[in-house]
Symmetry: C2
Subunit: 119 residues, 2 copies
Amino acid sequence: MSRKKMKLAYITNDPKRKTTYKKRTKGLVKKVRELTTLCEIEACAIIHSPDFDSQPELRKRRKENRQKELKKVMFQSLSGKGILQSMNAMDLNEVGLLVKQNLKDIDKRVRELSNESRS
Amino acid sequence: MSRKKMKLAYITNDPKRKTTYKKRTKGLVKKVRELTTLCEIEACAIIHSPDFDSQPELRKRRKENRQKELKKVMFQSLSGKGILQSMNAMDLNEVGLLVKQNLKDIDKRVRELSNESRS
DNA sequence: AGCACTATGTATAACCT
DNA sequence: TAGGTTATACATAGTGC
């Protein structure tokens, strides 16, 4: 978006990608800030920063081994068929209630079992 | 950012705010899409859409009653002292591991208590 | 309400240091 | 590699249907 039009595809060149990542992340954060300010809503961006410090293989393994739970819950489920759709359908509170309910259920189970133990 | 410069403050005018919300949300989603594509990273934006369909009072109560757990965990904790800082410090995986660990601990407790009950 | 337009402000890719 | 500059592409506030 500046001196040249640029294809919207993965930037294979490492330094270039890193630069773009930094610049665009900064811009994105600013946009989120503005949106929250202008409309007084809650919003945040969750960005999984690229792992430039390790070898490609290790990078890959890390990527696979980590980011399981939250990624699944927040990224895939919420973004589902694309971020746009998810944005419209997504309600932060709804997800919060779901999580809370899960924890409540588990906690309840714990308490019930505790009582069983004592009786 | 177009015909006039606009102050970066809450837009009190409802229709205007709604329009801005829609336009900017769309733009934000596009930015997220581009970032994930260009850098092949995982990223998503979580936006709590404004509640225009209810009365101001109801709106307020809803806002208070809902969005507890996830908002706290994701928005306040992660964004902490500001989104910018959180962006830099934030690692999706780290949070995921935290959540996972919590669930694991609870599950472990449940299993232990189950054994106690049986013995 | 929602779309299309467009003048203008903003973000940023390529450079440069 | 990081930070600053600039030409250009993009986002969007205001507007009119």
